[in-house]
């Protein structure tokens, strides 16, 4: 198996890079690229304490699999990909997304990793609500999935 995708419910477990490293390890692949996204403590001048991620579970998993298979088709069919995204409450410093890729060569490994990250931001139905130090919170704006020709 060369593809693992999951939404990780943060009430049940945390995303771990050890599992990812183990999954992508292959004697056929000489390059590994790992992207880890963490919740940072500041955004738009406000002090952030945590982010809550909401997701349309079934559509997210479908989109993850489709994006990863597209990435393999574009760059390296032999790539191994491990992709997990958090769902639920994630404190500052904790992992929100982990993409690990092993591939034959470094260029493909970098490209697959980057492609997956950018596509997720534009295709996977996931939302962020930031929690601030003052006690308030806000859903962040994002990318509309409504067909462009319909938006007047």
């Amino acid at each position: 198996m060369t593809l693992h995708t999951a939404l990780v419910n943060t009430e049940e477990k945390k995303i771990s890079s050890e599992k990812a490293n183990e999954f992508i390890l292959s004697e056929k692949n000489g390059a590994e690229s790992i992207f880890i996204g963490r919740v940072r403590n500041k955004n738009s001048g406000k002090k952030v304490t945590a982010v809550t991620y909401d997701a349309h579970d079934q559509a997210v998993i479908k989109s993850f699999q489709s994006i990863c298979n597209e990435a393999k088709g574009k760059f390296d069919n032999n790539a191994s990909i491990f992709l997990e995204h958090a769902k639920g409450y994630v404190s500052v410093g904790e992992i929100s997304i982990l993409i690990a890729v092993s591939s034959g060569h470094r260029d493909e490994a970098f490209k697959v990793c980057r492609y997956i990250l950018e596509e997720i931001k534009h295709k996977s139905p996931i939302w962020k609500k930031e929690h601030y130090i003052e006690g308030d919170e806000q859903w962040l704006s994002g990318h509309s999935l409504r067909p462009k020709e319909e938006i007047k």
């Binding site: 996204g37 991620y53 909401d54 997701a55 349309h56 079934q58 559509a59 997210v60 479908k62 995204h85 929100s96 997304i97 990250l117 997720i120 931001k121 534009h122 295709k123 996977s124 139905p125 996931i126 939302w127 962020k128 609500k129 806000q138 859903w139 962040l140 704006s141 994002g142 990318h143 509309s144 999935l145 409504r146 067909p147 319909e150 938006i151």
Partner: protein
């Protein structure tokens, strides 16, 4: 007729429950739903940064496919509202 709207992201500000029931004229389509939603938001939720939601949201069928503005809704149909996304 009445449809069931499953709420995600920003749209969760419309209700404390996961599903919002919306009354619509028979044979309504998504375009009509947008207009009713806009009215609900204008009357109650302008303070909550929801002004553009009815315009920018997409809608998913139960099969998790985007449905366009001409899609005819059925009584008791369950659809999802998909506000602009931003994971990663």
């Amino acid at each position: 007729m009445k449809i069931q709207l499953k709420l995600y992201g920003l749209s969760k500000m419309l209700s404390d429950k996961e599903i919002l029931y919306i009354e619509l004229p028979n044979n309504s389509n998504i375009e009509k739903l947008r207009s009713v939603l806009n009215k609900i938001i204008s009357e109650k939720y302008l303070k909550n940064n929801l002004q553009n939601l009815s315009k920018t949201a997409a809608f998913f069928s139960e099969a998790d496919e985007v449905i366009n503005d001409n899609y005819k809704l059925k009584d008791k149909e369950l659809i999802s509202i998909i506000p602009p996304i931003g994971g990663g």
